[in-house]
Symmetry: D2
Subunit: 275 residues, 4 copies
């Protein structure tokens, strides 16, 4: 198991000595581990650590990728007022159409109760911004590693840290203002929530099928490069999990398959299909 | 302007005599013309033709692509109970996670009040199924062309057609049962609803930029093949429409752009990104 | 049929010469004619008149009673960003918990795309406020009569009115700014939308049962005063409409009825119950 | 502090020796402690005990009062498929309009993944029904006391109880089927979740104001009976909590107050208003 960006770097540098599968970007992995799982774990992580009531809270979510979309949907559904920050105009326009105001963090920093980072970027929340947050506001990270919030900048003598329970620190300013930092800026969903077995099953199935594919593939199908999981396997992972929901697939008739130019057993979509 | 599947057929047959852009599958086109526009036009089309109340109605939506997703979201939000049919296990699993029961049409045909087809397929609703629908139920098509509902099968002597208003026919069975057929099975969103100017603007911008790109491209960049709109142009279309919503994009710092390995002006995502 | 406030005025003045039922405040009337019906007719009324796209639009809804709650829920569900104005702190707190920012109209007047009044009050939108609205913004009334928007104040020489289609006027300021006024400030749901037969059925049933009750009541049960529909009749109206949805009620066992101190046939709630 | 039904029993029996306030039925108490709080605590309680994924789960909620409405809204929003059981036709019709199928428990008992009771009744889930639940299904109570699930019926020799963690028992049938019982049928929201301080503040304020009112009231205003909190105090409780959300109330002008026949400071609604 190698972290995805590293794979592409190795490949680019010509140093990848075996074929590799980027399972992280298979549909089932992306949507389940990111969108659907985070839609639930953001609520779980915040409740277990802070008992915050979601209704009426003002929340800013940095990043409207799959993780951000999940966090936004869940918090909006529970009565929070959600703002979004984005660098990508397409994701920003999606946020607009989904009913979120797209703002720069500085526009709302003084009024929000909760900041959640989901960008994959670094220093998305800076010390300067943390200085301007309200007393009692919460800051946490759902993105990647621990770089999104500039936590290092909070380890200065004038600020006092108080560990109020596991994974929860109050950072206290000289004037008494407290900001609640969760998991020291590490991933909230991994540190303070649980991953449902259903999601683990999907991810593990994806990885297992990728290994089987690489092992079974005829000589030459895969070179020393990074590949996406074949569409048909992605569909297979999904089909294996439909029984959990007692979901019944419709089968194409021969006539319909011919009309659509599809094999009745899939794959059902072109590679660029977005779901 | 040439219909998309034809482009790919021509290309496959080696008969495409100029480079072509598949603008239909650009993100902005897909999400706006399909997902976001249909989320609104399904409601509009049904109200203008039938004045049906959505609350409490049982609806089956055939197909959970972008159009189906939009229809499902809108009707669920307004209190309908929505079932989904799907052939693709990935889309079916998405429907499950979004809170819809995935069924075969025959399982619910006797109980539903409304059938909406969004598949791109043909004969999705057959005469046999229309025979089993409830008195007063509605059937309409949001998918493509007029093939999804087998309307021809309803033009038989034992059934009476009664035009009750423009675009609305009552098909009457010998026992007096009426099924309400909208737009004779043609596209409801084009026949019985309007397309907001905002959506037209996005689509037209996409097409114009595609033509400009093809015209301006250096000799040899595009061969006699079908291309997707370059990611950067897709992002440009989106950015041009953000002002409508007073949306404010965040800009990457130099340091962040370097960390992410991105140009500060985009493109911001790999080609396979799904949004 | 006499308008409700008049009944109470007559009663207060001792001039009511017969018993009267305030059917307007029965649960089934309130929730269906107001909450559930307006949740749909606000969308219908706006689409038929303006073809506006809801996604991403900023909307302010004046009043968070049953009508306002319906309008807010529908527009939020379709991706609008909704603000609420309220005079009553309880309704205001409900709006907060449902995820709406509670503001004074003046705070958002310059940024909103749509104003919808649902207050039952007069002069909720004044000329001064209309002067500050954006070019192209829409103003309409879902409340009562035609007093909520100060339409009279717009009939001054410096403003030009242009009738662009039935029920739709562009009011044009000297600088070219246009505000779109629907139904000249009269009720949008009655002027520009339809009332589903299901809602009419509920309302008519309530009225018919009230008349039957007054007619059949033993001498002396009702004096020359205004009464609410007896709870049991309200429940009866609801039960008559459940079959439409194939809804199956659970019956209390003798043991359960005794435990709850209820008659197995209802009424099931105390008079002050809010639903 | 005396349990509400007891107050009414004492009053009815002429044994109430002091005036009493039924604060439980004030608006702020009902909506916050029941609707809004349970909307969050059902998710929290289920996650902390079982780590269940909500997306795609089939859930039946017994009772569509304030608590049931909160549970239904939350689970639907997170992608569960929710069924409702009801004895009251008005609440049942509300469930229909909110998009839930109203069924008898026996109709769905074999297919649901989770049963949640919110009725205030007893023996809502019987041994016979528990016998028919699926392996791995969850049963819990959000209603009152511990009578809703017939837990006593599960304490028979052929069933094995296994405590898998605090508040979580697996009840194991002879064929190996396991049903997951939470908090031994006691209140999930009190046993396995937390109550946000905001909700406690509202409830405590309501109780304190009721005591102050009783203490300060002029001789004779309150007799030895049970009273609802005066509307104006209910509004006062709400207004004290609006600042938390930075919510800004609109004030009536003199002219508007006169038009509505209201005092500018409230109360703003008649006593029978339902919110």
């Amino acid at each position: 198991f190698v972290f995805k960006p590293l794979l592409y770097q190795l490949s680019k540098a010509g140093k990848l000595c075996v074929p590799a599968m980027n399972v992280n970007d298979s549909v089932t992995k992306q949507k389940f581990d990111n969108l659907y799982c985070c839609r639930e774990s953001i609520l779980d992580g915040l409740k277990r650590t802070t008992d915050v009531m979601f209704g009426g809270k003002q929340v800013v979510i940095c990043g409207y990728g799959e993780v951000g979309k999940g966090c936004c949907a869940a918090l909006k559904a529970l009565g929070a007022i959600v703002y979004v920050t984005e660098i990508d105009p397409i994701c920003a326009l999606q946020a607009c159409m989904d009913g979120f105001r797209v703002v720069k963090l500085n526009e709302v920093i003084r009024q929000v109760d909760i900041i959640i980072t989901c960008t994959g970027n670094k220093n998305v929340v800076t010390r300067d911004q943390l200085d301007r947050m309200k007393n009692g506001s919460i800051v946490c990270n759902m993105g990647h590693s621990n770089t999104e919030i500039d936590v290092a900048s909070l380890r200065t003598p004038e600020l006092t840290w108080e560990r109020v329970r596991s994974q929860v620190d109050h950072v206290i300013w000289p004037d008494g203002k407290r900001v609640i930092l969760l998991a020291e800026g590490r991933l909230l969903n991994l540190s303070c929530s649980t991953v449902p077995t259903f999601v683990l099953s999907i991810t593990a199935t994806t990885q297992a099928l990728a290994l089987i594919e690489l092992y079974n593939a005829p000589e030459g199908r895969y070179k020393q490069d990074v590949y996406l999981l074949p569409k048909k396997m992605d569909e297979y992972v999904a089909s294996l999990h439909l029984t959990t929901f007692d979901a019944h697939l419709t089968e194409l008739t021969d006539d319909q398959a011919k009309y659509l130019g599809l094999n009745k057993n899939g794959p059902f979509k072109p590679n660029y299909y977005r779901y």
